[in-house]
């Protein structure tokens, strides 16, 4: 153990009035480095000691303002930019609705942050050792005595003078406090093995507790509530039907929403006679037809419908769409081929919508006319 150094001279008093007077006298004597310890806050002491107002308030202000800013920016970003949602017909940035949250976050950050600032910046956690800790003096002033302690580093410090001063003020007990420099200046490491082990245990307990709560405890329901109903589950076996299927086929003749049944499956001639293209030859429709034709038809029929794709010669040759026969065909007849297929061409009913099929018909017509242009078309 190293040599002990003098920290301060302390005096104990019996009443708050005595300590107030002592604090006043010592302040007026010009002592700077001294402190008063009382078992409870004594009114008016801070003004007698001429203490400067605490700067903690500025931290609270800064934290509160940043809380308000964070809350507002966060809500602005989530509600107005990242995932704008209309709620109750209000604007995306609905300030009145954000005010309560902003208020709460402001208060939360200001209060919690101020306590943390107080603990870590002002009280210097985790290194809060102080020469006065664990002394007889500290035990007394945290019980029923009022103490004052003048530090040795005070420029006016003089042991005998101070003892005399204390005695003249009527101090009950005057004491010198010594401290071990190494012990006091010892810096606690935050990441000690003990602390890491503690964190580890906490993590396991929290994770285990959460897992148990969420997955076990919450499902140990005293009542089944509505979880256990007699109902037909999808894909499940069911005894109430003779065939044992829970899911039933739709009634015969049911037409799905957005689906038009095709009536001329077996009758291409009738389709040619009765169907007509519902689309106008607008630029938009032709663009759509071109897009779909290039995607689905051109691999075999070629970009111009001449049947000259790269499949030509490797396969039963794809027919030309520019033949006299096809030019003579009705729109409905071409539509029928797209819908049902022909020879080795499969049906494209599943790949294309109603509109797209007719758009392709339009585009084929445009191709036919483009390659057989007459003189009057140039005008």
């Amino acid at each position: 153990m190293s040599e002990k150094k003098l920290y301060s001279v302390t005096a104990l008093f019996n009443t708050p009035d005595e300590i107030s007077k002592a604090a006043e006298v010592i302040t007026n004597e010009g002592y700077k480095n001294f402190d008063v310890n009382t078992p409870y806050p004594v009114h008016g002491l801070s003004s007698k000691m001429k203490l400067k107002p605490s700067t903690l308030g500025y931290f609270a202000l800064a934290l509160g303002l940043s809380g308000a800013t964070i809350a507002l920016l966060f809500m602005y970003w989530t509600m107005s930019i990242d995932y704008p949602m209309i709620i109750g017909g209000k604007p995306f940035f609905a300030l009145p609705a954000f005010i309560p949250v902003t208020f709460e976050v402001t208060v939360l950050l200001a209060s919690v942050g101020t306590v943390l600032v107080m603990l870590f910046l002002f009280f210097k956690l985790p290194n809060n050792s102080h020469p006065l800790h664990d002394t007889e003096y500290m035990k007394k002033v945290s019980n029923d005595k009022f103490g004052i302690s003048i530090e040795a580093k005070d420029p006016k410090f003089n042991l005998e003078q101070i003892k005399e001063l204390f005695a003249s003020l009527g101090a009950e007990k005057i004491e010198e406090i010594y401290y071990d420099e190494e012990e006091i200046n010892h810096k606690n490491k935050i990441f000690e093995p003990k602390f890491i082990a503690f964190l580890f245990v906490v993590a396991i307990v929290v994770a285990g507790g959460t897992y148990f709560t969420l997955n076990k405890l919450l499902y140990m329901s005293p009542f089944n509530f509505m979880l256990d109903q007699h109902r037909v589950d999808p894909q499940a076996k069911e005894t109430i039907f003779q065939d044992g299927f829970g899911m039933r086929p739709p009634v015969e003749g049911t037409v799905a929403r957005g689906f038009m049944p095709y009536l001329y499956q077996e009758d291409p001639e009738k389709a040619g006679m009765l169907l007509s293209n519902p689309l106008m030859a607008t630029e938009e429709n032709l663009k759509l037809g071109q897009n779909k034709y290039n995607t689905f038809c051109s691999p075999c029929h070629g970009y111009f419908g001449k049947g000259d794709s790269r499949l030509n010669g490797q396969f039963p040759n794809p027919p030309s769409l520019q033949s006299e026969k096809l030019i003579q065909w009705q729109d409905g007849r071409i539509y029928h081929v797209i819908q049902v297929g022909q020879n080795i061409m499969p049906s494209y009913a599943k790949q294309l919508t109603e509109k797209e099929k007719w758009a392709i018909v339009l585009y084929i017509r445009a191709l036919q006319r483009a390659l057989n242009a007459k003189e009057e078309d140039l005008k």
Binding site: G44, G57, G88, K90, P96
Partner: protein, 396 residues
């Protein structure tokens, strides 16, 4: 405790003559302007009398509430100021004068008082059991009679104590205050509903009474603070008032600034969020045209500015900043009442000219005159109160 022990040093002094003279001059100017306004535009003058009626009600009954609050809470620090609140609350006797123009001209102010309007309006028919002329007059007279009684007994006992030093009078007043509290709450809500909310008889807001209460207490506190600071600077109050007393007044004002903002925002947000047409139209009127500027202005003058002034700790101990805050709060309360009532009379245009200033001048003149007359006869400090000595030793 004998009476000797609780006696304090207090010598009664006259108020400065300039103070009462100023009050008299303002009173005369105000009277002339008010008479002129009644001659030139009878309805508008009546509408303005409603604003000043509610304003003076705020200050006076709010002051009586502060007196009762002090008794019931056993507050010590505010004892030296209690007599000032008592004197201010004397105005309760004079407010009915400001209610007279509206009572004589009900049709010019209250839409629900028109028989033909009620006949064609289902909602007004349903509200008719409450909103009818007879019941309106009866309940208002009843409320003022009750208030007068409480004023008489509360302040009478307090004044008697000045000479008798009888501690039992404090006990009596505590009981009286306890009885006064619920009556005050209900009657103030009725006043708020009758004189401010029923100007727009189709509209309703369940928090309206609390809203008016917040303004009431705030303006009563501001008025008290202003008078305390003025009188203490002239040395008319007891010696020994410290910054700690000022701080308490400032802190209480600061708290009620927040309370007002909280209530005002609660009222607005619920109506805004629910978006029911029968409630929102009231705010829409105040959010259109020139009124929208006044609405935004209200947020600043009633909350942001006084809040910023009183936020730092030293501000609550600094007489100058306290005075500025108190004056702003009093202006803000008048502004608030103007904002509450005027758009009901003039939906599209913001009306503000000398008509609106005439009544406030009269009110300030009346206030000062009443204060100087009343303070001639009675002590400005309740010297007989058993808590007086402790109050002067009050430390934060």
């Amino acid at each position: 405790m004998s009476s000797e022990e609780i006696k304090i040093h207090y010598t009664k002094k006259e108020l400065p003559s300039g103070f009462s003279r100023l009050g008299f001059i303002l009173l005369i100017i105000g009277l002339i302007l008010v008479v002129l306004s009644f001659i030139t535009d009878y309805n508008r003058a009546t509408q303005n009398s409603v604003i000043i009626f509610t304003f003076l009600t705020s200050i006076s009954i709010g002051s009586l509430f502060l007196v009762a609050l002090e008794y019931i809470a056993g507050a010590v620090w505010s004892v030296p100021f209690r007599r000032i609140s008592e004197i201010i609350s004397f105005i309760i006797f004079l407010i009915p004068i400001f209610a007279l123009p509206a009572l004589l001209n009900l049709h010019g102010v209250f839409h629900w008082s028109h028989q033909e309007a009620v006949a064609n309006d289902k909602l007004l028919q349903v509200k008719a059991p409450y909103l009818n002329e007879t019941f309106f007059i009866i309940r208002n007279i009843a409320i003022f009679l009750i208030w007068w009684l409480f004023y008489k007994f509360l302040t009478g006992n307090s004044r008697k104590q000045d000479s008798t030093y009888d501690q039992k009078l404090t006990t009596t007043n505590i009981k009286l205050s306890a009885a006064f509290m619920p009556i005050f709450g209900i009657s103030l809500t009725i006043i708020a509903i009758d004189w401010l909310m029923s100007l727009e008889p189709h509209w309703f807001s369940t928090i309206f009474g609390v809203y008016y209460f917040a303004g009431t207490i705030l303006s009563a506190l501001a008025c008290l603070t202003l008078m305390v600071l003025y009188l203490n600077e002239k040395g008319l109050l007891v010696k020994g008032l410290t910054k700690d007393h000022y701080y308490s007044l400032g802190a209480l004002m600061f708290a009620f600034i927040n309370f007002w903002a909280y209530i005002a925002f609660s009222q607005f947000m619920l109506i805004w969020y629910a978006n029911l047409p029968e409630e929102t139209f009231w705010f829409i009127t105040r959010w259109q045209g020139g009124w929208s500027y006044l609405s935004y202005g209200l947020i600043f003058i009633h909350f942001v500015i006084p809040y910023a002034i009183l936020l730092p700790q030293p501000a609550k101990m600094d007489p100058l900043r306290l005075k500025i805050a108190a004056v702003i709060i009093l202006l803000a309360h008048f502004y608030d009442l103007y904002w509450l009532s005027m758009p009901s009379f003039s939906k599209d245009v913001v009306l503000f000219s000398w008509y609106e200033i005439a009544f406030p001048i009269l009110a300030v003149g009346l206030f000062i005159t009443i204060f100087s007359i009343k303070s001639k006869k009675i002590n400005l400090v309740p010297i007989g109160d058993p808590k007086m000595k402790r109050a002067l030793e009050f430390k934060l």
